[in-house]
Symmetry: C2
């Protein structure tokens, strides 16, 4: 038994489930939700979600700042979303073709998102980024794709962070630039020569384990110019940030329109959906490629998206989340100062990250998170977090009380 | 207006939706559910599904033999599945980690499927085939993948049927053999030399627009031997056939065990889920690759899968579907003979295909399907169809009455 593990956990429901999982699932769990990557004390298995709270299988309740790693934008079990999905589910979900809600949702996307002349739907964020890249290649007849060094665009061979099972050819036409570095972007465009199909860029720099960075307007404008000059596609990967920063697409905040944009995560408040929007220049290419999935026409997630986006518009969701995120940020700043601890806070307030200064191996961040977790707040030490519209001032204040415990634990590290 | 189109349709709800869709969705719809690929009179948009019936947006009801292209295996709104999903949804769906149902479902898969020592879940069939190929490469450190000429394994660049937007490098390590042709398989293995990572094979040959072919046992056994000799992965793509032919995996019918198998479609009666099962030999490789998606730990589709598979076991679903499929096949044979028409019927009875002899451009098949559709049965002229456990003898007989109209229309073609 690990010295720092709370003894009670060895008899926990979570531990028992992890032991069973390890028998039948390689590594206990695949991918980003594997709690083995989290500090001491985090649960792997969840019993319930309600609003901005999650409840683990041992009955511990947390004010949640991961929002299921993005999808939960209105809070679990939001009544407007649940009503819409119940009504659609009573009719049908996966049918021989789409339900009318497909058209309503596509029309809403085109109305809401300035660059969007059309829309396609998928299931995963990686479906959307992969199809967007394929559209860029089909629409230009070219192959090279520029990607920022270290950016995450999905977990399929051309972009997954692990190279296990990936061949060199899967990435043969990927060239790199550095986010917010105009010179490196221009150099990568030069390198692509006459074969530039598109430039892929995340809404802001949200690579794990380093400070978040907003896009510099001059960098974004230069990217637009370079794409225009080459008739290449500027592809905005808005999978993680979409519907939290701006309902017209995250780069509306800096006034730069992409050619194609990929969405998923928050689009349907936790129901599985991805989307691509595009300009008319890319419509024919989007018609020519063959991309599909058995569940891509599912009507229930589309009904959820229609209700989610409508509600986000009505309540001005991005502003709501920005206010609560700012309250959290201000509170964390105050508390860190009270404990004499140096921190940095970065990213948009709706998707914040707090890092400790001089924190080798994230020891301080982990100690902070474990202690805050015990006190009832679910933070993350090195991945951007997420606010939802269900977070109230009282929730933020309760989470700050838990953060106070976290800072105290870090202060005790000496 | 097309001469053979029924005049009423121009004022139909379906037509109005198609016109709106064409404005905001490239080509009106992406992928395999695009009704533009279907004969005259097929609806694009659906209002409802109930049991084995689908109801289009104009209120026309059909006995359905596509089952949403596979997913609907117990019938729409099956009470056991709906109860299970309602209970799970009331707790939570997309959370910060999986719900306990993940472990229960993985344990059921490992118990049910003889070769399965472990299980992973995804969202699409293409997620499962892609991850299986990645596991094969990670587990062998080799690159070459053998694929049957013409087989469908998903709609991502390495395997999608259209080459628009696909680069040569996306398929650099794919080598081809012909299904059921041992000599061609051996030649492809020779071609791979020391670089063979795996052989991918569909449960039976179900390429579109040609007679279906069951796997020859000698062919399957030879594939097993070749993989054993090379320590390469035999990957069974059971996405389309899984849970219809045999609950232990479709090649249990011929007694050949794969190393890895990919499932989706029928696994959760229309809820979105994919899965990979594998032998222990491939467990470490499955742990090393990074594959994930925002909604892959969704609890509701897992609850649906648990209920679906449990019900399929209880009622011996594959046998139920085989009986009803055989009743359809026998009836179609009788009716074709009555009308003096030569047809061929192929595939397993749960996933049948009927083709007309000498049917250039599928003119007869299309005429048959359009006339049967008008009479209330939803068939497909060139893709394998699907039975569900909701089809009763009365449904089959009603569909055969509609088929009688279809054969009469073909007979009138002269």
């Amino acid at each position: 038994m690990h010295a720092s593990a709370p003894p009670a956990l060895t008899n926990s429901v979570d531990t028992a489930l992890r032991l069973r999982a390890r028998q039948v699932i390689p590594g206990g769990l695949w991918g980003h939700l594997n709690a083995a990557n989290l500090p001491e004390g985090y649960p792997q298995f969840f019993a319930r979600g309600e609003g901005c709270r999650v409840i683990d299988v041992d009955g511990r309740e947390f004010v949640d700042f991961m929002c299921s790693w993005g999808p939960i934008v209105l809070g679990h079990h939001h009544p407007a979303v649940e009503d819409a999905t119940r009504r659609q589910a009573a009719l049908g979900d996966t049918l021989n073709g789409p339900a009318p809600v497909l058209v309503e949702l596509a029309e809403l996307m085109v109305e809401l998102i300035p660059h969007a002349d059309w829309c396609l739907f998928e299931k995963n964020g990686g479906d959307a980024t992969t199809a967007a890249v394929t559209i860029a290649r089909a629409g230009t007849g070219r192959k090279k794709l520029l990607v920022a060094r270290g950016s995450y665009h999905g977990a399929v061979p051309w972009c997954t962070p692990s190279l296990a099972g990936v061949t060199a050819e899967d990435r043969a036409h990927i060239l790199h630039y550095d986010y917010n570095d105009i010179a490196s972007l221009e150099a990568a465009v030069d390198q692509a020569g006459g074969d530039l199909a598109g430039i892929l860029v995340t809404a802001f720099r949200h690579d794990m384990a380093r400070a978040l960075e907003m896009p510099a307007p001059a960098f974004a404008r230069r990217m637009r110019e370079l794409c225009d000059a080459a008739d290449a596609a500027l592809i905005l990967d808005d999978v993680r940030a979409g519907f939290r920063l701006h309902l017209g697409g995250s780069w509306e905040t800096i006034g730069v329109a992409p050619d194609l944009a990929a969405y998923s995560k928050a689009i349907a408040n936790g129901y599985p959906l991805g989307a691509i929007t595009g300009r008319d220049r890319w419509r024919e290419a989007a018609t020519k490629i063959f991309t599909t999935g058995s569940f891509w026409c599912e009507a229930v997630p589309m009904a959820a998206a229609l209700a989610t986006i409508t509600e986000l518009k009505r309540i001005e969701g991005p502003a709501v989340m920005a206010r609560m995120g700012q309250r959290l940020r201000d509170g964390l700043g105050r508390l860190a100062a009270k404990h004499g601890l140096a921190i940095s806070q970065s990213g948009p307030p709706q998707m914040p990250l707090m890092l400790f200064a001089d924190d080798t191996g994230f020891a301080k961040g982990s100690t902070f998170c474990s202690a805050a977790l015990k006190a009832g707040a679910y933070f993350h030490p090195k991945h951007n977090m997420f606010l939802s519209c269900a977070h109230t001032e009282a929730d933020i204040d309760r989470a700050l009380d838990a953060a106070d415990e976290g800072f105290a634990a870090v202060a005790r590290m000496g």
